[in-house]
Amino acid sequence: MAEGAGDKALIGVVSGLLLLPVLAVGVSAVATDWYSGLVPAGVTLDWFGRVLGNPAFQAALGRSMLIAAGSVLLQVLVTVPAVLAAHCYLPWLDRWMERLVVLPYALPQVVLVVGLLGIYANDPLVLIGTPWILLLGYLPLAFPLLYLPLKNNLRALQVHELLDAGHLVGAGDLVIAWRVILPCVAPGLLVGLSMVFALSFAEFVFANMLVGGSFQTLAIYLFGQRQKVGQVTAVIVVVYFAAMWLSTVVALSMLRRQPA
């Protein structure tokens, strides 16, 4: 049983260390003063009031929400039909999509930034400096996050038999996709979309280097505040986490409302 105890100790210690920075952010956000001691001098909600009441912060939060929501919508309209079409009818595209999944590791974001600046900074199509480059640039960037869980659900489904059965009763592909296939893959779809939301909400490299000050998202706002006292940045990071946690909760609650 010594081994079981060792396992528990290892898992516990590493998990504790991983929670430390999160804890530090949480404590700092409600600390009156945390400069000299090991624990804060007192507890206050003043910092939340100050940051949340700031119009620049509210505007940045709104922009990030807008980009994240737009990004989710774009994936629903563009990526979901493509993944379904590839899975049902286009095996060559399906194989390529599987390969696209490793691409984020081979193509760091900063490399894509250089390429996007090379193409969309000048005529005929200027997108640099506008939020459009974020919406469109996040599409391939976030694709693996949606593809993996969606594909997982699709694999478990006998898609071709569903299509044949549907055709037999006179239903078209669109009706079958909408009424049968999509409800069946809803769990993977919602998990994927909540991850797309989180990525687009928090993304910094594209936002800072392709758009910057002309459309200040929450990540850029946070970066601009990094020299301020720890409590201010801590509150913003807490809001960050809250938004991402909320997107997951919303996705999960939509799942529960689905008839099984």
Binding site: L10, L20, A106, P108, V111, V113, V114, I119, P140
Partner: protein, 271 residues
């Protein structure tokens, strides 16, 4: 039907073409342009520069080290988790998933609060006399922050492959008289070797490509390849997009070669 299906996939293909394929081609072709003419001058300038060679040296060193740390802690951790019950596994895998996605500016700021000049960890370390001075805004500090996301990432990529180590494998080895070290050396590690190699490559790429975390923590002072690329396209001092293109191509080569070798050659050798 397939023709109409292609129509449904067309917008996605256009988006991938416009915002992934074309940018890569632009980087590639731009890297061969210097002073308005086709040339290998950008590559010559980079390879001849101690500064840029140093950036590759630092990036590769920090990535190899933090990948080794990631696997060194991640493998025992994944094995320990593998021996626990599925509900416990799910709970901790969720935690590791959150931690490995906790990157960029928020992570850098969290570490500033925790271990910056006035951070609790810094105060504890200095007061306890373990160190006289701890600086998170250094390469050692950066490695600590990288390790924060590399360890949970290692667990996440290793964990699914541990299914190959079934309990009866260990039991059979024990019945045949193999001690634990012998079992690991002759059975365990060879079984896990392919996924260990694959995981190490992913961890390495994960660290090599990191920009936001390092930029938010140290800024331009960190001589990393990604920081140099960012500076060349959006710096305050001077910009040279074509030099950035060449630097980006070299970075992608460093990342792509191990991935391709692993996928094309090693996977095939293993059957």
């Amino acid at each position: 039907m397939p023709r109409r299906a292609a129509l449904w996939a067309a917008p996605f293909l256009l988006a991938v073409l416009g915002f992934e394929v074309l940018p890569v081609l632009s980087v590639l072709s731009g890297s061969f342009v210097r002073g308005g003419e086709w040339s290998l001058g950008n590559y010559g300038a980079l390879l001849g520069s101690r500064f840029y060679r140093g950036a590759f040296g630092t990036s590769i060193q920090i990535s190899l080290l933090t990948s080794a740390i990631g696997l060194g802690i991640g493998l025992p951790l994944a094995l320990a988790l593998h021996r626990r019950t599925p509900p416990v596994q799910r709970r901790f895998l969720t935690l590791f998933n959150v931690a490995s996605n906790f990157v960029g500016v928020p992570l850098a700021l969290a570490f500033t609060i925790l271990a910056g000049v006035n951070g609790v960890v810094t105060l504890l370390l200095v007061r306890s006399g373990l160190v006289s001075d701890f600086n998170i805004y250094s390469l050692q500090g950066l490695m600590l922050v990288y390790a924060y996301f590399q360890v949970p990432f290692a667990v996440l990529v290793l964990f699914p492959s541990l299914g190959a180590l079934t309990p009866d494998l260990a039991e059979q080895a024990r019945l045949m008289g193999a001690s634990r070290p012998v079992f690991w050396w002759r059975v365990g590690l060879p079984v896990l070797a392919p996924s260990l190699v694959g995981s190490f490559i992913l961890l390495f790429a994960n660290a090599m490509g990191t920009y936001a975390t390092a930029y938010a923590l140290i800024g331009g002072g960190a001589n990393l390849v990604t920081i140099r690329i960012g500076e060349l396209v959006a710096g305050d001092v001077f910009t040279d997009p074509n030099l950035a293109n060449a630097l980006a191509v070299l970075l992608v080569l460093v990342l792509l070669v191990p991935i391709l070798v692993d996928q094309l050659i090693l996977r095939r050798l293993r059957g």
